[in-house]
Amino acid sequence: MNGIDGDAYDEEPGAGGEVHGEEPNDGWPDGEDFDGALLEEELRQAAGVLDPMPPGLLQIAVDAYALHDLDARVAELTFDSLVDAIPVRGATHAPRMLTFSAGEVTVDVEVTADGLMGQVLPPQPARVEVLNGPQPGVPLTADDMGRFTTATPPSGPFALRLRTGGDVVVTEWLRA
């Protein structure tokens, strides 16, 4: 009776972002989108033939399910020199500096052509595994200062799994 009911919501803008025929169509004869939809579908089929998702990649993504681990804490990427740092002029081989954080645990990582160096903070001994996928990774040991190093730089996606005390922390997957 007081006019406040649901009808007003019909006016709510932007819910679907839909654009119907009102769009000026630059003199194109048909305002209907039907042909555009056909062309889009034809293009979709072309992409399916000429540039499909590679089957090998599909299998890798299916197998990635093994990385699902609710017991481990995820250390999120909080600093990436590729994004957050101003590049030094002329420094073409500047190391990639990464910082991951999970609660009070921080992991600093430096990736160069010569390998990977890192430190667990606060400093503590830890068992570290460099993962390149669902398969077991390369085991390393962090010293009493929490420092660890490996002479092989990760290629492709990598993550670090750290065991400190009873705690398991895995860094967010990242491309080196």
Binding site: E23, L38, E41, V49, V74
Partner: protein, 212 residues
Amino acid sequence: MRTGAVPSTAYHDVPYTRGGTVDRTDVGALVQSAADGDAAAWKAIVEGLGPLVWSVARAHRLSDADAHEVCQTVWFRFAQHLGRIREPDKAGAWLASTARHECLKVLRNARRLTLTDDPYLLDRVSEDGTPEQSLLEAEEAAAQSERVRRLWQEFEELGERCRQLLRVLIASPPPSYQEVSAALGIAVGSIGPLRQRCLRRLRARLEARGAM
């Protein structure tokens, strides 16, 4: 929601993988099931959204190798965050957005940048015909693949913005506008008009070449 849906009967014999087409309304449930240990649900997510992630990498003109690694990274991270994702029904947008950010990092890291070589792509098709093609009659296939090739060539030569938008839109199954928005960092409301403009432009190019 999309306005441009075409009756699926028009291309019931689509030659490429539609495998586990994910109904977008089911994504949230699938993510939940996968988080609870259902490997089949995970596979359905990968099959339904994998092509979208791939298309985001290609929309950014990443090379085969870079696109491969970006997609791997995205799926590894998604598996890692499974069960912690705040809005499971928006997993497609999460994947698209993560892929976009990884692509931008690749582009930023200039030493790794390799532009996709269009002629190479086209050559590759002519050299090793896809299994799908063998399903067609030989003559028909020749005419068809010529048409497909010309269409793809005109598409590749569209302006960068149009090429990028369409490359994501033509993922299969078709992404939602929300996913496209996450993939390219453009507002949902501008996708419809841009899409129409780009398709018109593509059609004009095809007509100019007498290819339609």
